[in-house]
């Protein structure tokens, strides 16, 4: 790997580190007033980071970051005012208090948003509502909390500065010291966040942003992760708020205002969405701009410019400064996706597959049956699943066929948990999962491959498999091992580091199947797996399904009768939401009634 490549790989660590060191050095040299103002830029950068975590990585545009920021500020400051009079040290109290309060509030709000399964727009609006509610309430909210006085409109004053020493005589830091301190705290928060976001947690969060449905199909409790991520962003915002209280020594309701809330996405967009370091760049650029234009305070002409900047960014520079620079740099590096272009058709290794499956059986137990008992699902006047009772047991592949509109995929979706049935039961093994959420069914042993390939396009092929394997084993090293074996079974080793989105349609199908295998499912549902595959690929698939059926229960929903024939298993025909016929394929091919519904002939129907 070249130097340039190696540095690019670690750019998120190296450059912020250099920037932090530089800032620490500059703090002593620059004019104290500039140091004082620049401190606020770093605080705003931290606030921006909190949004980048939830928006750039989590995929949810939250407009409540200033709410957590303000609440963290108020709460941290109340604690500091009361305790630092006694102990001297203000930071020990205000920062943890602010951060924890922010995390708590964000967690609670996140719980409402994510567990209600709100639409994206509704989520954003509700987060905005929360900020506005605080703005409204804080205008008249008056409270004497110990020696702290929250005075509604008048705000709260006498917030102690950054006092690092103990005892009654301890002094607050001078501007230079305060800047250094804030840079240090921000750097710690940044590196902690960066570690979190490049680690396991971050990968799962990325997966949720890229395809939440698939992430849940891999057995992750996606809503829990979303709430946790949101709580972390609340923690960062609350921390920034507590720092802000100590910096300005005064807080008032304008911290919850619309104008304040507007600045946060601007910082993120200017710096680069999803880059984590970007918000600091954005805050510094915008802070610097307003400093040179109008002496530090954001207002007047600056507001106008900010508005124009926001429009311009959305229209022309969606990736911001760091995102743009990153693209430029990447274009000069060797293309990691080159390997995808040379790749031929996927050819699986049957022995390796059998090994993987028998090992999975040893770890996850024997195959489980899937049973539907008088399952009933209706949409308005349409009944796509009409009292269907079916039992799929281990031993041979099951195929579910029927003409368009027969209710095959509705039946499948009801078994998977996408639809809630109005009647009947679904059982995996002996467990009734009729009311269980999707991820619990997956943990009970269900593996699902949908018709379209579902892969995480921005993650590498290896990472895709790793995310799937980790869901089952919850152990990084073991997940690595499983991913490597499936990779070699699929013959995709040469493309391991390629982004999944550059794979061909057929390769993505195989990768998706590989991800399902990583789960060591005890019952596998495949929805039209042969659709869009070439003849050779269809043959490979048939081999795979037949081997799979030796170790697990397999149900294939399929249109392609030729493919179904090669599976040599039990076939069930659905028609108009009901069970129509059952048997092996050759018997069914002789059945005039089955031919009729397929040919669209009407004599027997």
């Amino acid at each position: 790997m070249s130097y340039s490549n190696a540095i690019h790989h670690r750019a998120g660590t190296i450059f912020p580190f250099i920037a932090a060191i530089l800032a620490l050095g500059l703090a002593r040299i620059i004019d104290p007033y500039l140091a004082y103002v620049a401190t606020s830029w770093v605080i705003f950068g931290l606030l921006g980071l909190s949004l980048d975590v939830v928006w750039g990585r989590g995929g949810f545009l939250s407009l409540a970051q200033t709410a957590f920021y303000g609440l963290g500020g108020y709460f941290g400051s109340v604690v500091a005012i009361n305790l630092s009079a006694v102990t001297g040290h203000s930071l020990l109290w205000s920062l943890p208090a602010g951060a924890l309060f922010g995390a708590l509030i964000a967690g609670a709000l996140g719980w409402i948003i994510f567990y209600a399964r709100m639409g994206a727009l509704q989520s954003t609006i509700l987060s905005y509502t929360f900020t506005l509610l605080l703005w409204s309430v804080s205008q008249s909210f008056k409270l004497d909390a110990g020696s702290a006085v929250i005075g509604g409109d008048n705000g709260m004053s006498n917030i102690p500065g950054y006092i690092p020493g103990f005892g009654a005589g301890a002094e607050a830091l001078e501007p230079a010291g305060a800047l250094m301190f804030v840079v240090l705290v921000a750097a710690l928060a940044y590196f902690a966040t960066q570690r979190l976001m490049t680690g396991t947690f971050g990968k799962i969060i990325d997966s949720i942003r890229l395809d939440i449905e698939k992430t849940e199909l891999l057995g992750y409790d996606v809503r829990r992760y979303q709430v946790l991520n949101f709580a972390w962003s609340g923690l960062l915002a609350g921390l920034a708020g507590a720092l802000f209280g100590g910096w300005s020594n005064y807080l008032n309701p304008s911290i919850f205002s619309v104008q304040e809330a507007l600045l946060v996405p601007i910082y993120v967009l200017v710096g680069g969405l999803g880059t984590l370091a970007g918000p600091f760049v954005g805050a510094t650029l915008i802070g610097g701009l307003s400093f040179w234009l109008g002496g530090g305070a954001v207002g007047g002409q600056t507001t106008l410019i900010l508005g124009v900047v926001l429009i311009g960014l959305v229209l022309f520079l969606k990736k911001g400064v760091l995102g743009g620079l990153g693209d430029l740099w990447r274009s000069r590096l060797p293309d990691p996706n080159e390997a995808a272009r040379g790749a031929g058709a996927v050819s699986i290794d049957p022995d390796e597959l059998a090994d993987i499956l028998s090992e999975a059986e040893a770890q996850a137990g024997p195959a489980k049956s899937l049973r539907a008992e008088t399952l009933f699902k209706r949409f308005g006047g349409v009944i796509p699943v009409n009292e269907v009772s079916l039992a799929f047991i281990p031993g041979q592949p099951f195929s579910l066929i029927g003409p368009n509109g027969a209710g095959k995929s509705s039946f499948l979706k009801t078994c998977v948990g996408v639809y809630r049935p109005e009647g009947g039961r679904v059982l995996i093994g002996d467990r009734d999962v009729t009311r269980a959420p999707i991820f619990q069914r997956v943990r009970a042993g269900m593996g699902v491959k949908n018709q379209k390939p579902q892969v995480f396009g921005e993650l590498s092929v290896r990472e895709n498999l790793w995310v799937a394997a980790y869901s089952r084993v919850r152990h990084r090293q073991r997940a690595n091992g499983i991913a490597a074996r499936v990779l070699s079974m699929l013959g995709l080793e040469a493309q391991a580091e390629v982004r999944a989105s550059v794979l061909s349609h057929g390769q993505q199908q195989w990768l998706d199947i590989g991800m399902v295998l990583c789960l060591a499912p005890r019952v596998v549902l495949l929805d039209e797996p042969a659709a869009g595959m070439t003849k050779e690929e269809t043959r490979e698939l048939s081999t795979l399904v037949r081997i799979l059926a030796r170790f697990t229960t397999v149900i294939v929903v399929e249109h392609d009768m030729e493919f179904v024939r090669t599976l040599e298993g039990q076939v069930t025909v659905l028609h108009q939401g009901r069970l129509f016929a059952q048997g092996d394929i050759d018997t069914l091919r002789e059945d005039e009634r089955v031919l009729d519904i397929y040919l669209g002939r009407r004599e027997h129907v």
């Binding site: 349409v382 509109g405 349609h505 009768m561 397929y598 040919l599 669209g600 002939r601």
Partner: protein
């Protein structure tokens, strides 16, 4: 007259149809056959301009078709999509009227005309289209396409999920408007009986390309081809 020459297209980078050429003469009814997923719907969407052409051209009545779908419609290209896609929160009447008015025709007259062809819509004209049954929606989508007064009609799986009695009715109306108004048709279909009842000629697609061209008589005779086409 309607012609597609060397059509190549797909979604994003993925090419689904490659170098497809076909021709539908004035007043001709042509079937487009093939299994699921061979690119029939993509070809239809290519013809309407709803997916951008990577290569190839479309001609309507001897003139190159404009790029925008709306302008193609005004050049006489009617389209009944797979899955019908009626305007769900508009009444059946509005569905038909808006199509007529968008092309400079009188909405009221278009609705009256549609009701003479499709009397089954009469009791439903003031109902929201989203509340109609699958078969009724299919008929409505057809009436909507006819309201633009097309010279060529593209039909994508018009019998999918439609009950048999309505399938027969649709076939009857298509034959009638073909004779009375001379509208040419290209029908993508899996229901072989339906195709045999209305089309004179057929193209067979496979893996995004035209594999062969055939006529009704051959298709009726050739059981092996029938089986293969339907994957039975």
């Amino acid at each position: 007259m309607f012609r597609i020459s060397n059509a190549t297209g797909g979604y994003g980078k993925t090419i689904i149809i490659r170098d497809v050429s076909l021709y539908v003469g004035s007043g001709d009814v042509v079937a487009l056959l093939g299994r699921n997923g061979v690119g029939k719907s993509t070809l239809m969407r290519y013809a309407t301009g709803l997916i951008p052409a990577i290569a190839g051209t479309v001609e309507i009545d001897g003139l190159a078709a404009p790029a925008a779908p709306a302008r193609r419609a005004r050049h006489g290209l009617g389209y009944v999509p797979q899955g019908r896609f009626v305007f769900p929160r508009m009444t059946a009447l509005e569905n038909i009227a808006v199509a007529a008015e968008s092309n400079g025709h009188n909405g009221k007259e278009a609705v009256e005309e549609a009701l003479t062809y499709f009397p089954m819509l009469k009791p439903k004209v003031h109902d929201l289209a989203g509340g109609l049954s699958g078969g009724q929606q299919q008929v409505l989508a057809l009436a909507r396409a006819l309201a633009i007064r097309p010279t060529v009609l593209l039909l994508d799986e018009p019998t999918e999920g439609v009950q048999p009695s309505i399938v027969d009715e649709i076939a009857g109306v298509l034959k009638r408007i073909n004779i009375e108004r001379g509208i040419a048709m290209l029908v993508a279909e899996q229901d072989l009986d339906f195709c045999l009842s209305i089309a004179n000629r057929a193209y067979v697609m496979e893996k995004g390309a035209i594999r062969m061209e055939t006529d009704r008589a051959t298709l009726e005779r050739d059981k092996a081809l029938q089986q293969e086409l339907l994957g039975v």
